[in-house]
């Protein structure tokens, strides 16, 4: 597919916004849980993005600092660039990129953020109620289970090559260091990046 062939009409932009508005309230557990549907909408149904662009948006947002939901913004950005003929086309493409980014982020965040805000206000006014206290407390063991599951998934993703033991070692070591010491996390991430780069450049 030639990415520069993408043309979005006004109603296409509207579709983009409304589709993401609709996904927002389904994103329980984070926006990442709706990626399958985004892939269907953006790549398969409309061909606004290529597969490679879609995957790159997810990977970059994982690697970049900040909330992972930024991958949605990056999809809007590269979709806008496509419709402007690519970054090489200069300012017009950048504006379309920014428009895609803005619409995608507003869509995915607006409904869920409003709901969170309203729920917070309600819960603050009723925090002494037995039902509210029980709700919050009852979630604690579930959240810890989810955290350990996330750690497991990340560690498995990293530790699936010939050099896997090194990466598992990195995971265990950084767990212990963050738990028991006050070492800054950026040092650990930097060290992890250095070890990984060294291993793949000089295997």
């Amino acid at each position: 597919m030639n990415a520069s062939a993408v043309v979005l009409s006004l109603s296409d932009w509207w579709d983009l916004l409304t589709h993401f508005l609709g996904l927002s309230l389904m994103a329980v557990g984070g926006a990442i849980t709706t990626t399958t549907d985004m892939h269907r909408f953006l790549v398969l149904d409309h061909a606004w993005l290529t597969d490679a662009q879609f995957n790159a948006a997810v990977a970059i947002a994982q690697a970049a600092p900040g909330p992972n939901v930024l991958f949605v913004g990056l999809m809007g950005w590269s979709l806008g660039l496509n419709s402007g003929g690519g970054l090489g086309q200069g300012l017009e493409a950048v504006w379309l990129g920014l428009m895609g980014l803005g619409l995608a982020m507003v869509g995915i965040l607006l409904p869920s953020s409003l709901l969170t805000w309203l729920a917070t206000r309600w819960a603050t006014q009723n925090k002494e109620r037995r039902a509210v206290r029980a709700f919050k407390l009852s979630l604690i063991p579930l959240v810890m289970g989810l955290l350990l599951a996330t750690a497991w998934t990340l560690a498995r993703g990293a530790g699936q090559s010939a050099t896997a033991p090194v990466f598992w070692g990195l995971t265990v070591l950084s767990t212990w260091l963050v738990w028991r010491t006050r070492i800054h996390m950026l040092w650990l991430l930097g060290a992890g990046a250095a070890v990984g780069a060294f291993l793949s450049a000089w295997p």
Binding site: G29, A64, L148
Partner: protein, 184 residues
């Protein structure tokens, strides 16, 4: 004793700062900045707020920023914290995306990403260990809490079941058990 943010701009910068340090997700660093450094929340409070942020739809750190902003400064605070967690990181992500294409094929870059996600896994695991103090004052006995924790872990990480299917029944069970043990 916990502190509270001095101003809305302190809130904005705290969330900007924690977002910019959060590689591969912001949770681990959120715990460190909000609980260890600024002491705006106790570990127990953090676990509760985090849990609620996780169950509501939407990205959990964005939800957390809205919840804390609202708690200290009302809707203006919620907006400031929301802006903090998203503004600068969006700029950084777009810049990264713009240079990524040129270096994506270098093996060293792929390796560095792999190393960083191995470390990120450790950061998340350590966060869970630190939050375990919340079990001390919990109305449920430790064994029950650990059972619920294990059920979530196995369902999500090993059986790869959809999140909602695992969480909904276990949340109902956990809620019923906790509710019964709380004094009215």
């Amino acid at each position: 004793m916990t502190q509270r943010p001095q101003s809305r701009s302190a809130l904005f910068w705290a969330f900007t700062w924690l977002a910019l340090q959060g590689f591969g997700g912001v949770l681990a660093v959120a715990q460190r900045v909000l609980v260890d450094e600024r002491q705006w929340l106790t570990p127990e409070e953090f676990a509760e707020e985090w849990a609620a942020a996780q169950v509501l739809p939407g990205p959990n750190v964005v939800n957390l920023s809205i919840m804390l902003g609202e708690r200290y400064f009302g809707w203006r605070g919620a907006l400031c914290a929301f802006a903090g967690i998203l503004s600068l990181p969006t700029v950084v992500a777009v810049l990264l995306a713009s240079v990524y294409a040129q270096f994506a094929n270098l093996p060293a870059v792929a390796g560095a990403l792999q190393g960083m996600s191995a470390v990120a896994a450790g950061l998340v695991a350590a966060t869970a260990l630190k939050l375990a103090v919340a079990f001390k004052k919990h109305p449920l006995p430790l064994a029950l809490n650990l059972g619920l924790l294990t059920a979530v872990f196995v369902g999500v990480a090993w059986w790869h079941q959809p999140l909602a299917w695992v969480l909904l029944p276990l949340a109902v069970l956990s809620y019923a058990l906790t509710w019964r043990r709380l004094l009215p």
